[in-house]
C-alpha cells in the first residue's frame, strides 16, 4: 500500500516567479501531517495543488493512487481554505446544505451529516443565524464543518485554527485525532510552532523549499533543539549559509 498523498519533485512558478522548488513528500494513511512555515513560504500553494485546484509547473502529485487534479478524487478530499469561503447572507445551516448538495448528499443523510458536523464544531445552536453575524472563530468552525460533511478520506486544512480560542483549538485537535484514528489522512498547514508539535509528521517549508521533514521528536533531536521553533531556525539557518 503506497502513501495516501505523494508529492514528487513538484515545482510551481507564477510567471517567472518561483513559488515552490522541487518539493517531495509522502503522507501515510491515518497520519496527521503538518506543513510548518512562515507566511509566504508556499504552504497554501502546495496544499491547493494537492487539493487539485492548482496544477504544478513540473512534478507529479498523487492522492489515493490517482494523479491530481482529478474531479472524481475531489469527492474524497475535504478542503478547508485559508479564507472562510462562506456565503454571508445565508445561515450556517444553508451554507452546509449548499456544500452537502454539491457533494451529492441528500435527504436524511444530508440532515444527519449537517447535525453531526455542526455538533463537532459546537455550532448546533447557531445554525439558524446568518453567517454575517458569526464571529471569526465561528466562521472558521463552520468552514471546518463544511469540509467534513462528505466524510472525506483525505482532509486538507489550510490554517484551520487561526482566530480560534485555545479551548476550542484543543477540542478541534481532539477531533482531528479522532478522525485520524478512524482512518482519515490529514494534511494541515500552520505557522504556529507549538501547534506543529501536535502533528505526527512535520514538513518545514521556507521560501518555497522543504528544509526538513520527520516527526517533531526526530526534528528536535537531530538539531538538539528543545523546541520546534529552535529546530526550524536551525534548519533555516543552515539553508541560508549554503
Amino acid at each position: 500500500m503506497s502513501s495516501v498523498i505523494q508529492v514528487l519533485d513538484v515545482s510551481k512558478n507564477y510567471g517567472s516567479q518561483p513559488v515552490l522548488n522541487n518539493i517531495s513528500l509522502n503522507v501515510e494513511r491515518n497520519e496527521i501531517y503538518g506543513l510548518l512555515g512562515p507566511s509566504g513560504a508556499g504552504k497554501t500553494t502546495l496544499v491547493k495543488m494537492i487539493a487539485g485546484i492548482e496544477t504544478p509547473t513540473s512534478g507529479n502529485i498523487t492522492v489515493l493512487d490517482t494523479a491530481m487534479p482529478n474531479l472524481y478524487n475531489m469527492t474524497r478530499i475535504g478542503f478547508m481554505a485559508q479564507s472562510d469561503a462562506l456565503y454571508a447572507e445565508l445561515s450556517g445551516q444553508e451554507n452546509l446544505e449548499f456544500f452537502a448538495s454539491i457533494y451529492g448528499l441528500k435527504g436524511t443523510k444530508q440532515r444527519e451529516r449537517i447535525l453531526h458536523t455542526a455538533s463537532l464544531v459546537n455550532l448546533t445552536d447557531f445554525l439558524k443565524k446568518p453567517v454575517h453575524q458569526y464571529s471569526g472563530g465561528m466562521k472558521r468552525r463552520l468552514s471546518l464543518a463544511a469540509a467534513l460533511l462528505h466524510e472525506p478520506e483525505v482532509l486538507i486544512l489550510d490554517e484551520p485554527t487561526v482566530g480560534i480560542d485555545p479551548v476550542l483549538r484543543q477540542s478541534i485537535w481532539n477531533e482531528l485525532y479522532k478522525l485520524s484514528v478512524a482512518g482519515t489522512t490529514i494534511l494541515v498547514t500552520t505557522h504556529v510552532m507549538d501547534e506543529a508539535e501536535k502533528c505526527g509528521q512535520l514538513g518545514m517549508l521556507r521560501d518555497g523549499r522543504l528544509i526538513a521533514s520527520g516527526s517533531p521528536q526526530e526534528l528536535k533531536e537531530s538539531t538538539t533543539s528543545a523546541t520546534i521553533e529552535e529546530a526550524f531556525l536551525s534548519y533555516g539557518g543552515a539553508a541560508n549559509e549554503n
Partner: protein
C-alpha cells in the same frame, strides 16, 4: 444536481439581499418613469416621397424643400416607406392630397407634418388650387397621438434590463471570487460548466420576474404604445437579460474588485446605447455603423420596436431572438473557458 444546489443557493442569497432586489426590480421603473416625464422632441430632417399626377406641382415641391423626392412608382415608394428609407409619402391627386406617415418615430412624424405645412404655405400664391385641396393623413405604423416616449420606450426597457442585470450578475460572480468561495467550489467536484449553468439559471429566474414587472409597468402604468403581443416583449427582454447575465459573469473574470466591474459600464454598456437604435445609426460615419452588429442591444432594441410599435410577431423577431441566444451561448462558453484560469479541470 450540483447545478441545482447552486441555483437554490443563489435564490436564497438574492432574497436576503433586499437592496439588490430593489435595484433590479424598482430602479428601472423609476428611471423609465422619469424619462417618460422629461423627454421632449428635437430637430429632424424628414425624407418625403412625392407621387403626383400633376407634374409641375410635384416639381415645385421638390424645388422648395430638399426633404421632397419625386417617385414615379408608388409601389417603390411604399416599399421604401416599409423599410424606413422614407418617413412619409405625399400623394397629390387633385382635389385630394394624401399623406402616409411611416409613423414609428413621433419626432419624424412631427417634422414631416411641419415641413409639408410650411412648404404648401410657401407655394400657395403660385399654385392654382392648393386651397381647394383637402389633406388626408394616414399612418403606416403608430398613430397621431404617439409620443416620443413611445418611440424611445422599447429601447429604454431593453437597455435598463441589460444594464442592471449586467451589473448585478457581474458583481455577484466577482464576489464569489473575492470572498474565496469560488476557490472553495473549485475544490469540490463541481464542473466549470455546472457553475456557469447554475449562475445563468439562478439569475435567470429573477430576470424573468424582472422582465415581467418592467414590461407590465411600462404598458399598463406608463401607457407606452403596445401594438404587438406582450409575451413577445417579455421573451425579447428575457433574451436580452440572459445575454447581459452571461456577459456580466464573463467580464467579471477580468475585474479584480467591484470598482473594476463598474469600470466596464462605460466600456461595454454605454456604447450600446448609441448603437441600439435609440439614436439614428444612419446618420453616423460609415465605418462606425458595422460596430452595431456586434452589440446585443442592437438586436434587442430592434426586436422590441418591431413588436411594440410595428405590431410584429414571431416571424419578425425570431432572427433577433436567435442572435441574442447565440450571444448568450458564446459568452457562456467563453466563461467556462475563462474559469480555466482558476482550475484547469
Amino acid at each position: 444536481m450540483r447545478t441545482r444546489a447552486l441555483v437554490k443557493r443563489i435564490i436564497r442569497q438574492f432574497i436576503r439581499d433586499k437592496r439588490t432586489l430593489a435595484m433590479m426590480f424598482l430602479a428601472p421603473l423609476l428611471i423609465l418613469t422619469l424619462v417618460n416625464l422629461v423627454f421632449s422632441g428635437n430637430n429632424y430632417d424628414p425624407e418625403i416621397a412625392v407621387i403626383s399626377s400633376t407634374e409641375p406641382f410635384a416639381s415645385q415641391l421638390e424645388g422648395a424643400d430638399s426633404s421632397f423626392t419625386i417617385y414615379e412608382n408608388s409601389k417603390q415608394a411604399f416599399d421604401d416607406l416599409e423599410h424606413e428609407k422614407l418617413d412619409a409619402i405625399i400623394e397629390i391627386d387633385p382635389p385630394t392630397t394624401k399623406i402616409t406617415l411611416e409613423g414609428s418615430n413621433p419626432t419624424a412624424n412631427k417634422a414631416v407634418m411641419m415641413t409639408v405645412e410650411k412648404t404648401l404655405k410657401s407655394l400657395a400664391p403660385k399654385s392654382p388650387q392648393p386651397n381647394a385641396m383637402e389633406t388626408k393623413v394616414d399612418y403606416l405604423h403608430g398613430s397621431a397621438d404617439m409620443e416620443s416616449f413611445d418611440y424611445m420606450g422599447p429601447f429604454l426597457i431593453g437597455f435598463f434590463i441589460f444594464f442592471f442585470v449586467f451589473l448585478i450578475s457581474g458583481v455577484s460572480f466577482l464576489r464569489e471570487r473575492t470572498t474565496g468561495t469560488l476557490e472553495r467550489l473549485l475544490a469540490t467536484p463541481m464542473r466549470r460548466w455546472e457553475m456557469v449553468a447554475g449562475y445563468v439559471l439562478g439569475f435567470g429566474i429573477f430576470t424573468i420576474i424582472q422582465s415581467a414587472i418592467i414590461v407590465s409597468f411600462s404598458i399598463y402604468v406608463l401607457d407606452i404604445m403596445m401594438a404587438g403581443s406582450i409575451w413577445y416583449v417579455i421573451l425579447i427582454t428575457l433574451m436580452l437579460a440572459v445575454t447581459a447575465l452571461s456577459l456580466g459573469t464573463l467580464l467579471s473574470a477580468f475585474a479584480k474588485n467591484e470598482l473594476q466591474m463598474i469600470q466596464f459600464i462605460p466600456l461595454v454598456v454605454v456604447p450600446q446605447v448609441f448603437f441600439s437604435g435609440l439614436f439614428n445609426i444612419e446618420t453616423m460615419t460609415d465605418w462606425l455603423q458595422p460596430i452595431s452588429y456586434i452589440m446585443p442591444l442592437t438586436y434587442g432594441g430592434q426586436a422590441m420596436r418591431e413588436v411594440m410599435i410595428q405590431g410584429g410577431g414571431w416571424a419578425d423577431i425570431y432572427d433577433e431572438v436567435l442572435v441574442l441566444a447565440g450571444f448568450s451561448l458564446l459568452f457562456m462558453v467563453l466563461n467556462v473557458l475563462a474559469l480555466k484560469k482558476h482550475r484547469k479541470l
